[in-house]
C-alpha cells in the first residue's frame, strides 16, 4: 500500500503528460482494495469508519455484489467507432462520453447493423439538393475510418461502366436506412485496390436481395483474390502486402520488387510501444463498452425481434 502511495506521488511528479495518466487514481484504488481484502493494513479512512460509534448510526451497508454487464468480446469489432481515437492530443474524455450518448440516441432512431469492410450494403439517404427525394446506393464497403460521431465508411459500385464511390458518415441524420445485403469480411483491412481491379470485382446488382446469415454463426471471410488491371495504378499496391490480390507479380518489374523490399518494415511487429499507442488498452475498452453495452444489447434484441416478424410474414404473402 505504502509503495503504491509513494508511486502515485512519483507519478504525479514525473508525469508531464497529465491527460494520458487516466489510470493514476484507479491503480491506487485497486491497490487499496486488493490490500484491504488481503487483510493487510487498511487505509486510515476505513479504520475510522470502523471504530466510529455504531449505536448512533445504522450499520454501514454491506457491499452488495454489483453485477456488471458481461460485454461480449467481439464488440470492439462490431462497434469500433465507440472506442476513442488513440491519438493522445485529440483525446477529450468528456467529449467522447457526450459523443457516445449522441451515438446511442441516433441508434435508437435508426437501425445501424453490424458490418465490416467487404460487406455489401445498401444505404438510403435523403438528397440535400432534391427536397423530399431519397437515393439508394448499393455497394461494397471498402473502408471504415474515424471514430465517434464522425465515423464513416465508403461504398463502391460500378454503375453504367463507371466506378462510383460514396462516402457516408454513419451517424449522418440524412441517412434513412442502412441495410447489409451480404455480411462478410475480406482478407485485407481496406479494399482500395478495387479501384484498380477489373470492374466485375466491384460490380453489384442494385436489386440484390439481402442474404440470410444464421444467428450466432461466425462472420464468413471471403477469400476471393481480385485481378488487377495493368499499370499505371493509383497506388503502389506491390508495397502494401495485400492478401486479396492475385496478380501483382504479373505487372511489376524487378526495380519495383526491389523498391518494395526497401520500404518494408519487418521490425514494426516487434515495436510494442507503437502498437500500444495505436490501440486503446483493454481496461479502457471495457469501461467504454460497459457504459454502452446495455443500450446496444437491447437495440440488438429489438432488431432480432423485427427480423423474426419479417420472416414470419413472408410465407403468408406467398400463400
Amino acid at each position: 500500500m505504502n509503495s503504491a502511495r509513494a508511486m502515485s506521488k512519483v507519478w504525479a511528479q514525473q508525469s508531464a503528460f497529465n491527460r494520458i495518466v487516466t489510470f493514476s487514481t484507479k491503480a491506487t484504488q485497486h491497490a487499496a482494495a486488493a490490500v484491504s481484502s488481503a487483510g493487510a493494513e487498511p487505509p486510515g479512512e476505513e479504520k475510522t469508519s470502523a471504530t466510529a460509534p455504531a449505536a448512533a448510526q445504522p450499520p454501514t451497508p454491506t457491499p452488495t455484489p454489483v453485477r456488471k454487464p458481461i460485454v461480449p468480446s467481439n464488440y470492439r469489432f462490431i462497434y469500433p467507432e465507440f472506442l476513442p481515437d488513440p491519438k493522445v492530443e485529440w483525446r477529450n474524455p468528456i467529449r467522447e462520453k457526450l459523443e457516445r450518448l449522441d451515438m446511442l440516441d441516433r441508434r435508437r432512431q435508426i437501425d445501424l447493423p453490424e458490418f465490416y469492410v467487404g460487406s455489401i450494403m445498401a444505404v438510403t439517404s435523403s438528397d440535400p439538393h432534391a427536397a423530399g427525394k431519397t437515393s439508394r446506393f448499393v455497394g461494397i464497403c471498402i473502408n471504415r475510418d474515424r471514430c465517434g460521431l464522425r465515423a464513416r465508411f465508403v461504398l463502391r459500385n460500378v454503375i453504367d461502366h463507371q466506378g462510383m464511390e460514396v462516402v457516408y458518415e454513419l451517424y449522418d441524420p440524412t441517412i434513412q436506412k442502412v441495410e447489409v445485403l451480404r455480411l462478410e469480411k475480406r482478407l485485407d483491412d481496406n479494399l482500395f485496390y478495387l479501384r484498380d481491379a477489373l470492374p466485375e470485382f466491384s460490380t453489384f446488382d442494385e436489386n440484390m436481395e439481402a442474404e440470410h446469415l444464421e444467428e450466432g454463426a461466425p462472420v464468413p471471410v471471403n477469400d476471393i483474390k481480385v485481378i488487377l488491371r495493368p499499370r499505371p495504378w493509383l497506388e503502389r499496391w506491390e508495397r502494401q502486402n495485400l492478401r486479396g490480390v492475385a496478380n501483382i507479380d504479373q505487372y511489376i518489374k524487378d526495380k519495383h520488387r526491389k523498391s518494395a523490399e526497401k520500404v518494408q518494415k519487418p521490425w514494426e511487429k516487434y515495436d510494442l510501444m507503437k502498437q500500444y499507442r495505436s490501440t486503446i488498452p483493454e481496461e479502457e475498452q471495457k469501461e467504454v463498452f460497459a457504459e454502452v453495452h446495455t443500450e446496444l444489447h437491447s437495440l440488438e434484441l429489438q432488431r432480432k425481434r423485427n427480423k423474426r416478424k419479417r420472416t414470419f410474414v413472408k410465407p403468408k404473402q406467398l400463400a
Binding site: 509503495s3 503504491a4 508511486m7 507519478w11 514525473q14 508525469s15 508531464a16 503528460f17 494520458i20 495518466v21 489510470f23 491503480a27 485497486h30 491497490a31 486488493a34 470492439r76 469489432f77 469500433p80 467507432e81 472506442l83 476513442p84 481515437d85 488513440p86 491519438k87 493522445v88 492530443e89 471504415r144 475510418d145 474515424r146 471514430c147 465515423a151 518494415k265 521490425w267 514494426e268 516487434y270 515495436d271 510494442l272 510501444m273 507503437k274 502498437q275 500500444y276 499507442r277 495505436s278 490501440t279 486503446i280 488498452p281 483493454e282 481496461e283 479502457e284 475498452q285
Partner: protein
C-alpha cells in the same frame, strides 16, 4: 490513425506514456532504434537495475513493461509472445527468466513492473540527464534512504516526548 486498432488487445500500462516516441538519434533509423533499445531491455532483465541516460531509459521502460505484461497475459504457450521475447531478449536464457521468474513475481502486482529514478550526472561530463531503471522486487537494497528513524521527523519527536513523559511518571512513582 483515426480509429483505434482493434486487432490487438493490450493491458494498460501503469506508467506515464508519452504521446509520441523519442527517436534516439542513430544512423540506422527506426530499426536501429529498436536494436539499441533491445540491448537496454536485455540488460534490464539481466541485471534488474541499470544506470543509463534518461531518454533511453524512459523509452526502454515502456518496452520492458509491455514485454512483461504480454508474457503475463498470454503465457509461454503463445507463439507471438514467444517471438517477441526472442526478439527483445538477446541472451536466450533470459527468456526462461522472463516466463519462470518475472511472470510469477509480477502476476498479482497492481503497480508498474519497473521503477525509474533520476540520477545525478557527473560534473564536468556529458550533458545528458542520467537515470536508474530497475525491476521492482529486485534483490538489491533500496535506493531511497530509510528515513523512518530520523530524529527530527514529527512522529519521532512525539514518540521521544512520550517516552520521556513515561519515564518521568515512573520516576515519580518510585519516589513516592
Amino acid at each position: 490513425m483515426n480509429q483505434a486498432d482493434v486487432t490487438k488487445l493490450m493491458s494498460q500500462l501503469r506508467i506515464a506514456v508519452r504521446p509520441n516516441q523519442r527517436n534516439l538519434k542513430n544512423p540506422d533509423g527506426a530499426e536501429g532504434r529498436l536494436l539499441k533499445l533491445r540491448k537496454t531491455v536485455t540488460a534490464l532483465m539481466k541485471h534488474e537495475r541499470i544506470e543509463l541516460y534518461y531518454n533511453r531509459a524512459d523509452e526502454a521502460r515502456g518496452y520492458a513493461e509491455l514485454l512483461i505484461s504480454n508474457a503475463i497475459r498470454h503465457g509461454d504457450r503463445h507463439r507471438a509472445t514467444m517471438e517477441l521475447a526472442d526478439y527483445w531478449l538477446l541472451e536466450k536464457q533470459l527468456v526462461h527468466k522472463l516466463f519462470k521468474v518475472l511472470v510469477p513475481r509480477y502476476e498479482n502486482y497492481n503497480v508498474s513492473y519497473t521503477r525509474m529514478y533520476k540520477a545525478p550526472r557527473d560534473y564536468p561530463g556529458m550533458y545528458y540527464r542520467q537515470s536508474v531503471l530497475e525491476l521492482r522486487g529486485n534483490p538489491y537494497p533500496s535506493l531511497f534512504m530509510d528515513q523512518s528513524q530520523n530524529r527530527n521527523l514529527l512522529h519521532n519527536v512525539l514518540l521521544d516526548e512520550a517516552r520521556k513523559e513515561y519515564r518521568r511518571s515512573k520516576l515519580a512513582d518510585l519516589v513516592k
